[in-house]
Structures are given as C-alpha cells and as structure tokens.
Amino acid sequence: MKKIIKYVTADILRNKIVLAYTVLLLIISFSVFALQDDASKGMLSLLNITLLIVPLMSVIFSAIYIYNSAEFIELLVSQPLKRKSIWLSLFYGLAAALSIAYFIGAGIPIIIYQPSATGFIMLGAGIILSIIFVAIALLAAVLTRDKAKGIGITILLWLYFALIFDGLILFILFQFEDYPLDKFMVFTSAFNPVDLCRILILLRMDVSALMGYTGAIFKDFFGSQTGSFVAVTVLLLWVIIPVWLSMKKFKKKDL
C-alpha cells in the first residue's frame, strides 16, 4: 500500500497542473499580502480563494485524475492487492498532494504575514477542504463510468456547496423570518463543509459584528470548546463518509 501511495503522490506532484496550481496559489497569496498594507485585508482575499478555488481545484483535478488512471487502476486490480488498499492509496495520494500544494501555495505566505490564530485556522480550513473535496470527487468518479458525466457532477457539487446552498439558506431565512432560526442555522451549517469553514474563520475575523444580535449564538456555540470539537468532527465526517461510501462501491464495481 505504501508503494502505491508513494507512486500516486509522486505521479501527482510531478504533474504540471498541480505544480502550476501551487505556483498560482503562491503568487496570489504573496500578492494579496504585499499589495495591501493591512495584512487582515489580505486575509480576506485569501479567504475567498480558500473557499472557492481550493474546493474547485481539488474536486475537478481528483475526478480527472481518477478517470485518467482507469487503466492503471485496472492493472493494479489484476495484481494480488486488496481493492480497499488500492482505493485508499489513491485517496491518500491525492489528498496528500493537494494538501501539500495548499500548504506551500497559501500556507507559507500565511505563516510569514499573518502568524495568528486566524491564520492557522485558515490554513487548517484550506487543508481540510482540499481533503474533503478529494473525497467527494472519488465518490462522484466511482458512481459514473462516463468521464464527462462524472466531471459534470463534480462541478455541480462544487457549485452547490459554494453558491446554491447559501442561496437556499437565504431563501429559507426570508421565508421563515418570523420564526427563531438561529439554532436551525447552526445545525444546517453542518451540511456544508465550505460554510462550516467560513463560519470558523468568520468568528475570528468579524468577531465584533458577530457579537451583536444572534451572532452571539454562533459565538457561543462555535467559540466554545465543545462547539469547535463538534465542528472538527463534522469536517472529519465529511472526509470519512464519502471515502467509505466510494470504497464500498469500488469494491463491488465491475471495472
């Protein structure tokens, strides 16, 4: 299994696209910090990149990689190897490669310019989002055999998490504005890892505003020790559940 992980990771890291992604992140991150005299404004720009580009890149790249290595996977399956370890190695390889890319591309500038709690939460969020979207891509790729359809699904999923979900929330908020929705909002945020990461970072960045109004409820929940523990657990579930589902499917899949 180690050998396969090593092979997959090396293969991806040598891939020019991941390299380009790392360099692009690095350039963007350094420029957002260098262009603005205020580091916290740079963090804001970086927040948008972390919440949008990182999931998009992870999900599409992973899906394409899985489709392109269909022959390689077939070859591996013909060897005396467990399907489980093949699939997990693919996941570990992809997750490791994209996390490293994020760590180098965005993490190093963050550590240099903003070595605060906000910075480290952002770094953690970026890495966990990379991994989550690799897991989601694996699930999408194993569900459909057709490459175009699979990539389409991943893009739709990304669109859903980045945009449509928030639209639905806003819709619900205004449709049911006469009801107390604060606790419900805490609950629904668990259904979108992007939102969950955003709220965790927001609690650091806009703490003054969030202290007012119902924001206090978010602060009370996510700011507390149990709250952060629950948030991290939910994020980990977002990794474990898709990987587990895709593995179950892959085990039985007729290649």
Binding site: L47, L163, M211, Y213, F218
Partner: protein, 414 residues
C-alpha cells in the same frame, strides 16, 4: 504699572494671610485632641482645616455643614460598615482630600453614597479611593464643584447597583482624572450644564461608561471608555462636545461605543472607536458634526438611522470594520464626504488624492442583516459577495443618496 501690581499683590497677600490666621487647624487621630472626626466637626468653625491621621474610622454618617477642609494624612479609612452613608456635605467650599472610603450602605430606597454633595457649591473632592460604595460621589443641586483624581471601584450586580459619579441638576462641574470601575454607570449626568469631564478612565461598568440625560453644553475630553456594558450614551441633550476619547471593546448584543439619541448640535472630534460591536449608533440626531475620528475593527462603524438629519460625517478613517455604515431606511439627510474608507475600490486619475467615483458605504448585505439578523451566518460567502458587487454597480436597495462624493485615497494621519 509694575509698582501698582506689586502693591495689589501685597494687599491681597495680607488679606489672605489674615484669613489664614483666623482659621484653625484641628488634628484628629489616636492620642490627639480629637479621636473622631465628628468630635472635631463639632468644635470647628467655618474656614478651619481638619487633618485626619491614618487609621480606621467607623463614624456612621459624617455630616459636614460648615465650610471646612477635611484632609487625610496617608489616606485614613472611613468605613460605612455596609450600613451608612459615609460623608454628607451640605456647606459650600468644602474640600475632601486624600481619604479611603469603603463599604457604604446599600439601599434602593435612599440614595446612599460614599460622598453626597447636597445643595453645596464649590466643593472639591480630590485624591480619594472609594471602594465598594453603592453610589460613589453623588452631587445634587450643587454648582462649580471639582471632582478630581479619585479612584472608584465597586462590585455591582445588575439588580442592585449605583453609579460611580452621579450628578443631578448641577452647573459648571469639573470631573477630571478619575478612574471608575464596576459601577452601574461610570459617570451619570442628568440636568447638568456647562460641565467638563476630562481624562477619566471608565471601565467594566455594568451599563454605560458615561451617561448623559438632558445635559446641555457639556464637554467630555480625552476619556477612555473600555469594556462597559455599552460605552457612552448621550441622550436628549444639545451642544455636547466629545473630543479625544477612546471607546474600546464595548462588545455584545446591542452594545455600542457611543449612543446618540435625540441630540442636537454636538461635535464629535478626534475620537477613536476600536473593537466595538457598533461604533456610533445615532437615532434622531440633528446637526452633529463627526470629524476626524478613527473607526477601527468595529462590527458596524456607524449606524445612522433614517431619523437623523443635517449631520455631517467628514474626514474620518474607516478601517477594518465589518460594515462601515448601516441604516434602516432610504431617506438620507446627512452628508458623508471626504472620509477614508478602506473598502473603497475606485481610482484617482487626476492624482488629487480624492477618488473619482463616489463610494457607497452601505452594502446590500448590511441592509439584509438589518432586516434579518440571522442572515449574518452568510457573511463573506461567495453569493453575498456577488450580491454586493451587483448592488454597487446598480444600486437598487441601498439608499441612493448615501454616498461619499469625495472619498480619500489614503488614510488621514490621525
């Protein structure tokens, strides 16, 4: 001319000296002519000085009805035993200096204070420590008083608590260099006119750091208001000047640095608003000038309700705030020109340091949050950013006239 002034000084000196000769100095302490302040008070006459040596004095309520100077040596302790008011001043020109007053009584029926000044002008309260008092210094119907360099600390709970320095129907007071902690309101003014509050530090009070009601033509200068229940409230007053103050970390549900309610002709100059949930909340204010202030890292820098008119907000720095301006209607009768906004994205082609496109400080999302506070969860999501950008291009919901026509490209050095 010179000789004349020398002569005047000479005679003035003579008169002063003669007055001094008349006045006696009584010493209170162990093994001294008087062992209690009350005894000394009975024997003194107006103009005398009573010196109190260090020690613990439990004398129930000390009533001062003669013009005297009551001075402590190395801060003698006057204890109210949690039952009594400590000092009541009823005579003019009294000086209370250098005492430690502690454990006043607590009562919701009578206003029990560490020092109460009642119908007495020209009183000076200086250099005292007031610890665990119900009301700290309570001034009623007294003009020209000076309250300076006192340190007040209380351990109030919401249900039973008094104000630190409470002034009611007074004129021409000077409240300077005091620190007030843990009271209900740090400093409270009601029907107080022409007074100055300067260089005080008011922190961790339950309600307001400073509270103005119906108090006209006052000024508060260079004070620090920190972590109070909610900052400073100026209500139903006109001609209040607020300069050089710091409003720091007034956090919480509906907390603000400065609340302006139904006030007119105020001047807010050179203040710093840092880390407050709301920097300034203005409601029904008229003809206020907000000039050269710094708003940094607040949730809402300013919340200007539609009921405000003829206010001018100019030459301020707005930096790092979650929202710059929020409002609750589309009517705008105020101007917001020549400010620096860190969220401004315009350009300056003619290099006159003024942006060529107006800046609209109210974002669409701040209007949404105003209507539906729970929507705050969605802040900084991609969708919300999209909304805000669209609104900036084609304003539909945000007030059309609320804009800075001359936004500055660089922050002012404040």
């Amino acid at each position: 001319m010179k000789i004349f002034s020398v002569i005047v000084f000479f005679f003035a000196g003579c008169i002063f000296y003669a007055a001094q000769l008349n006045a006696a100095t009584l010493v209170v302490g162990k093994n001294k002519p008087f062992t209690s302040i009350k005894a000394a008070l009975q024997h003194c006459k107006s103009g005398d000085t009573i010196l109190v040596e260090t020690g613990l004095y439990k004398e129930q309520e000390i009533v001062i009805d003669k013009t005297i100077v009551l001075k402590g040596i190395q801060q003698p302790v006057l204890d109210g035993e949690n039952k009594y008011q400590i000092i009541l001043i009823k005579a003019p020109n009294v000086v209370i200096d250098n005492f430690r007053l502690q454990h006043s009584g607590k009562s919701d029926v009578n206003d029990i204070a560490a020092i109460k000044i009642f119908h007495a002008d020209n009183v000076t309260i200086s250099n005292n420590i007031i610890d665990d008092a119900y009301w700290g210094v309570l001034t009623q119907y007294s003009n020209n008083c000076i309250i300076t360099n006192n340190h007040l600390k209380a351990y109030a709970k919401e249900s039973s608590s008094g104000n630190g320095i409470h002034c009611w129907k007074c004129d021409n007071l000077r409240i300077t260099d005091n620190t007030i902690k843990g009271h209900r309101d740090g400093i409270y003014f009601e029907f107080v006119t022409n007074s100055i509050v300067q260089k005080n530090i008011s922190e961790n009070n339950l309600r307001y750091g400073l509270h103005f009601m119906f108090s006209h033509n006052d000024a508060y200068i260079s004070n620090i208001f920190k972590q109070n229940g909610s900052g400073v409230a100026v209500m139903y007053s006109h001609g209040v000047k607020m300069t050089g103050n710091s409003f720091i970390k007034n956090w919480g549900d509906g907390a603000y640095g400065l609340l302006l309610k139904e006030i007119t002709d105020g001047y807010i100059y050179h203040n710093h608003f840092t880390n407050n949930t709301i920097g300034i909340h203005a409601e029904g204010t008229t003809r206020i000038k907000v000039e050269k202030n710094v708003f940094n890292s607040n949730g809402w820098a300013m919340r200007v309700q539609a009921s405000c008119s003829d206010n001018h907000i100019l030459y301020n720095n707005f930096q790092n705030n979650t929202f710059d301006i929020a409002t609750n209607g589309s009517l705008v009768l105020n101007t917001f020109d020549h400010n620096y906004w860190d969220k401004y994205e315009g350009y300056d082609i003619n290099k006159d340091r003024i942006g060529d496109v107006p800046y609209r400080p109210v974002s669409l999302f701040s209007m949404i949050v105003e209507k539906n506070p729970s929507a705050m969860v969605l802040f900084r999501s991609f969708m919300v950013t999209l909304f805000d950008k669209t609104e900036k291009v084609l304003p539909g919901i945000t007030p059309e006239n609320l804009k800075d026509n001359f936004p500055l490209m660089k922050p002012l050095a404040l």
